[in-house]
């Protein structure tokens, strides 16, 4: 939310002055306005029109009370036609110090560049007072409109894009799940590759499979998915297999105490095979997962106790629900070869007997999922390969 907006100029005789402001009197006193000002303008003036050396860049300053932040882009145009051969101005936006300023930075930059251009072309700013032409909108009206539009519609000359953080890299063994119905928003203008990739997102296929099935290069597939991640329209999970291990995280407490009605949400998502059971069963299913039990073993345990889970619950959806909500986390398997570790310490490359295919994956940082995706072999085959290493050299860490 923009609290105020103002246009300041450096006047050779009077120094830095506020020429227009909105709301009235928020920066500099104005006749007939009796509201407290945001801050003492005289204190801040030297940062609003700073020395030339600091001009033509994005500048922000907080007021001494640490309540307001002024975002500006002081501009200095040098030309002999001006008194003192230069013209300095700044269109500033005032926001609260705790407000994220990143979306407003682009606005301030655009204001500076637009008005610089207008000034260079027809001295729009410097000749303001002299101009009587009716077809020009006054600067006062303009800044008022800019402020109102940005506050009310989040856009004006340019939309106020939320700046997202750069998303994490897409790995070929990840499984994308869509968070929105792409079919409803996609149209002919969408990128063809993107459309091909989106068509393959089903919550089951991993990135490598998607690339293959969509007939798109893996790199391009990753870039397309990265885009979707940036706009938060998909999320990434691990590849679900019954041999996977999942463990409860401390957040499991949120489920048990039914925070945000999570239990019913889960129940709607997973009871698709039969009658609904009381939510307590879901609690028991989550809490009985542990670091040493594969999903298969966990199902067997419940079956032995007389609860045929598969008859009621879609287990893949159940696990995915837990992972998405942060109630569960996947325990990955990492092969570690002592010989390979030793070679990493000395920096000398080794050729471990039997390690032709997987040696470089045995430093403890590459999980079975990655090996599966990159080498195109399943768990059993990986184990076969690892058995070819010298006896006792390879350990598997569950992490």
């Amino acid at each position: 939310m923009i609290q105020g907006i103002f246009f300041a100029r450096f006047l050779p005789q009077q120094g830095t002055k506020v020429v227009h402001q909105s709301p009235p009197g928020c920066i500099a006193p104005e006749p007939g306005v009796d509201k407290p000002r945001f801050f003492d303008f005289e204190t801040m003036a030297e940062y609003i029109i700073p020395r030339q050396g600091f001009c033509n860049r994005f500048v922000t300053i907080c007021d001494p009370e640490d309540k307001h932040r002024i975002l500006g882009y002081p501009v200095c145009i040098k030309d002999e036609k001006y008194e003192r051969n230069e013209f300095m101005f700044n269109f500033c936006i005032v926001i609260g110090v705790d407000v994220d300023m990143t979306p407003y930075e682009a606005v301030v930059r655009r204001l500076a560049s637009t008005f610089t251009e207008m000034e260079i072309q027809n001295q729009f700013l410097s000749q303001e007072d002299l101009s009587t032409s009716k077809d020009r909108r006054s600067i006062a009206a303009l800044i008022e409109i800019i402020k109102e539009d940005l506050n009310n519609y989040n856009e004006c000359m340019i939309p106020l894009f939320p700046i997202h953080r750069h998303p994490p890299p897409v790995k070929s063994w990840h499984v994308p799940i869509s968070k929105m119905k792409f079919t409803e928003i996609m149209d002919d203008t969408w990128d063809l590759t993107m459309k091909k990739v989106i068509a393959q997102i089903d919550g089951i296929k991993d990135v490598r499979r998607i690339a293959h099935d969509a007939d798109v290069a893996l790199d391009l597939t990753k870039i397309a998915l990265q885009h979707l991640l940036y706009y938060d329209s998909i999320l990434m999970l691990d590849l679900f297999l019954f041999g996977n291990i999942y463990a409860p995280a401390p957040e499991i407490n949120d489920f048990i105490i039914d925070k945000d009605g999570m239990q019913d949400e889960c129940s709607n998502y997973v009871y698709i095979n039969g009658p609904r059971l009381p939510n307590l069963y879901l609690c028991r299913l989550f809490t009985s997962l542990c670091t040493s039990r594969t999903v298969k073993e966990w199902l067997k345990m419940h079956l032995d106790q007389g609860f045929p889970v598969l008859n009621y619950v879609d287990v893949r959806r159940f696990i995915q629900f837990g992972v998405i909500k942060g109630l569960l986390y996947r325990i990955h398997k990492y092969p570690v070869s002592s010989q390979y570790l030793a070679s990493l310490v000395t920096g000398q490359s080794v050729k471990i007997e039997g390690g032709d295919l997987l040696q470089n994956y045995t430093g403890g940082c590459h999980c079975f999922d990655q090996i599966t995706a990159e080498k195109n072999i399943g768990d059993a085959k990986i184990m076969d390969q690892l058995r070819r290493f010298p006896k006792g050299d390879v350990e598997i860490i569950y992490r």
């Binding site: 994005f58 640490d66 930059r109 500076a112 790995k171 542990c290």
Partner: protein, 717 residues
């Protein structure tokens, strides 16, 4: 030792500058490093708990391109291609010096003398000194100016209006040792551990007359400016951290030194004159900086603060005044995580993950100032090394701290240590907190062979190669590190079941301590909630119904006898003032009202009778041996129930708990039920109950086992 606190991302600090305003106007005194790089600090590109570093497939430009098309006045910073390593500033090799870019003087095309130290980043120091000497409005306030892409943050100090640097105090009042540095900390701020830790230790205060006869130089303000370059999006948190913990404290310490010894002015004067002389002699910048760092303790202090803080380490500096002022500064780093970073959050590999937060009070509420006495101290480095360091520090706290280190063991809770050595628990906790705050130790639940330890999902396996070597050195006879981690991770069980024999337990606990210190393993803990089975629910329901029927029977009786009194109360209503004659014939409204009341009474009676009849049909509750497998027909429609938080129970939940309490036959189980129920909230680990209740571990687990049928249990870290 393999690792101490895992390195977190850098602080974003790129330079520190000292600027003063004297009678000659603003002066740019000193900056460090001499030729800083404006590049934001490189950060790891790992997210969540992943370890696989993918080759970066996008360039810096792409990263920052979000607004590039909107940016018209874009410019790029002149970047020094060769940037000297700042690690050992005092010892430049002579060969390198001549090659340093921007080290030498030259004459510009217009004949102007280019002085290398009069430029910082792409600014002239004459410009910087004017914009970085803010007016009195900013005195002792946060000053935050960003000149894209740099942020200048500081806490400017002005001279008092009366021309003194501190309040003149009546001579007889003895000043507190910590001096103004702490007094200025502002009482409005919540006192946290950090605040209470003495950052500033001063020797005895002498008769403070040093400013007499000194040239005060007309200095009216000074300002140690911290220049940061942080990635957009994390600016706010970074600035807040470094401002509160470093910038404010450093400037306050300078103010103290200035007030007591005219320190800032004297040092500034010296540095400025050295610079002027060097300018005349056209000395290279590296030579001059070397000289300044040797001659000026303030310059050396700025250097040391920069070197430590930019790498997020602890800075220890000394201002050479009499008595010397020692200052330790750091941006506190978390020493454990309560939850794993999500797949979109930056990774913090190697940081211990556990929900065992030692900063909770006896009631279990978080309190950053309260170290829980049931935790144990785990040193983050070799004991002899830490002791040597503390001895070298030689402060009044040194001896007590060393004693604390000697007594505390990772297997003993603070309370146990205090009791066995008959020392005051509170002093022990304060000392331990000091060690924790200064990153020498962490607090963990006491290690025990009965507990289960698993590989941490956040461990930094990239350190396995180095870690394995260090492990071998520390425990030559133990299995290799990967093998040991594999054992712990494959099938979690209590340590005593893995250790080959009882004799090995001490060593194995040492091994676990080593692994926790390095963030390799964490304790797997047990949490539970009370699970109420239908049988219990029915029993309580039945009880409640029978009571309700009893009540309604009594109620019916009293009602039939009280119809008159009912009317009399009616008469006490305002209508009474209307002087209505009670013997007067009833109006039609009154007739209707009476009829309605009668109908209501009839209905109630009927309902009560029906309820009684229904109740009579209900089977009597039967307490079976195992309520969890009671599949009597009348329990079919009742779903089992979980009590979420025994601290806040409804009336019914309290009846469930009471009903359960009657089921336990073992006297100990019966006795402990009411005491233990408070731990069954899913947040308190069963492993801590024995300590909290001051009972034997084995016995406690026996009791907990007897509750098993009525608990839902979950294991996590």
């Amino acid at each position: 030792m393999a690792s101490t606190v895992p390195p977190l991302c850098c602080s974003g600090l790129v330079a520190i500058a000292l600027i003063i305003r004297s009678r000659d106007g603003p002066r740019f005194v000193f900056h460090y490093p001499a030729r800083p790089s404006a590049k934001p600090s490189e950060e790891e590109r790992l997210y969540g708990t992943e370890l696989d570093e993918e080759p970066v497939n996008y360039t810096e430009d792409e990263l920052d391109s979000d607004d590039s098309d909107l940016e018209d006045g874009g410019y790029s910073l002149p970047r020094h291609s060769k940037i000297e390593k700042e690690d050992k500033p005092a010892r430049h090799s002579h060969v390198k010096e001549s090659e340093l870019e921007g080290d030498d003087h030259y004459d510009k095309a217009n004949g102007e003398h280019f002085v290398p130290w009069e430029h910082l980043f792409e600014f002239e120091t004459t410009d910087l000194e004017s914009i970085l000497t803010p007016s009195r409005a900013y005195h002792k306030k946060k000053f935050e100016l960003s000149l894209d892409p740099l942020v200048f943050v500081t806490y400017p100090i002005h001279i008092r209006e009366d021309g003194l640097w501190k309040k003149r105090k009546p001579k007889k009042v003895k000043r507190s040792k910590a001096g103004e540095v702490e007094a200025g900390a502002g009482s409005a701020e919540p006192k946290s551990i950090e605040e209470e830790m003495k950052d500033v230790t001063l020797g005895e205060k002498p008769g403070n007359t040093s400013e007499d006869g000194d040239d005060l130089g007309g200095m009216t303000m000074f300002n140690a400016v911290f220049i940061l370059n942080v990635r957009k999006g994390e600016t706010k948190e970074r600035i807040k951290d470094i401002y509160e913990h470093v910038i404010k404290k450093f400037n306050k310490a300078l103010k103290h030194a200035q007030a007591s010894a005219n320190y800032v002015w004297k040092e500034s004067e010296m540095i400025i004159s050295m610079k002027e002389k060097a300018k005349e002699e056209r000395r290279p910048m590296s030579w001059l900086w070397n000289e300044i760092e040797i001659k000026s303790t303030l310059a050396a202090a700025i250097r040391d603060v920069y070197l430590a803080i930019s790498k997020n380490q602890i800075a220890t500096v000394r201002f050479a005044i009499n008595p010397p002022l020692d200052l330790s500064l750091q941006i506190p780093v978390p020493n454990f995580l309560m939850s794993l970073p999500s797949s979109t959050e930056k990774a913090m590999p190697g940081l211990l993950v556990t929900t065992a937060n030692p900063l909770v009070d006896e009631e279990g509420t978080e309190d950053p100032t309260h170290l829980n006495k049931h935790f144990a101290l785990l040193l983050l480095d070799d004991e002899t090394k830490i002791v040597a360091e503390i001895q070298a520090d030689d402060t009044e706290l040194s001896d007590p701290l060393i004693e604390c280190i000697r007594l505390c063991k990772p297997t003993l809770s603070f309370l146990q240590v205090a009791q066995t050595n008959s020392i005051d628990i509170n002093s022990l906790l304060i000392l331990a907190q000091h060690l924790i705050y200064w990153r020498r130790a962490i607090a963990i639940p006491p290690l025990h062979a009965r507990e289960t330890y698993v590989v941490s999902p956040n461990c930094d396996s990239r350190k396995l190669p180095v870690g394995s070597v260090a492990w071998k050195k520390a425990f030559p006879l133990a299995p290799p590190l990967p093998g040991f981690l594999a054992t712990l991770s494959a099938a979690p069980r209590p340590l005593k079941n893995i250790a080959p024999s009882k004799d090995h337990r001490t060593t194995w606990l040492d091994m676990i301590a080593w692994l926790i210190r390095g963030g390799w393993v964490t304790q797997l803990r047990t949490f539970g909630w009370i699970l109420v089975w239908p049988e219990i629910i029915y029993e309580v329901e039945y009880q409640l119904k029978s009571e309700a029927i009893e009540r309604s029977k009594k109620g019916a009786k009293s009602q039939s006898g009280s119809s008159e009194s009912q009317e009399s109360t009616d008469e006490s209503s305002p209508e009474k003032h209307g002087s209505i004659d009670p013997s007067a014939p009833l109006t039609t409204e009154q007739v209707a009202e009476n009829a309605r009341l009668e109908r209501l009474a009839d209905k109630l009676a009927k309902e009560a009778a029906e309820a009684a009849a229904d109740f009579a049909k209900m089977p009597n509750p039967v307490a079976t041996e195992h309520p969890s497998i009671n599949n009597a027909e009348h329990l079919d429609h009742i779903a089992p129930y979980i009590i979420k938080d025994p601290h806040k129970v409804s009336h019914e939940e309290s009846l469930y708990i009471a009903a359960l309490g009657k089921r336990f036959t073992e006297p100990k189980s019966k006795e402990c039920w009411t005491k233990f129920t408070k731990y069954f909230n899913g947040c308190e680990a069963f492993e801590m109950i024995a300590l909290q209740e001051n009972r034997k571990r084995k016995e406690t687990w026996g009791i907990l086992l007897s509750y098993n049928e009525h608990l839902m249990v979950c294991k996590h870290w």
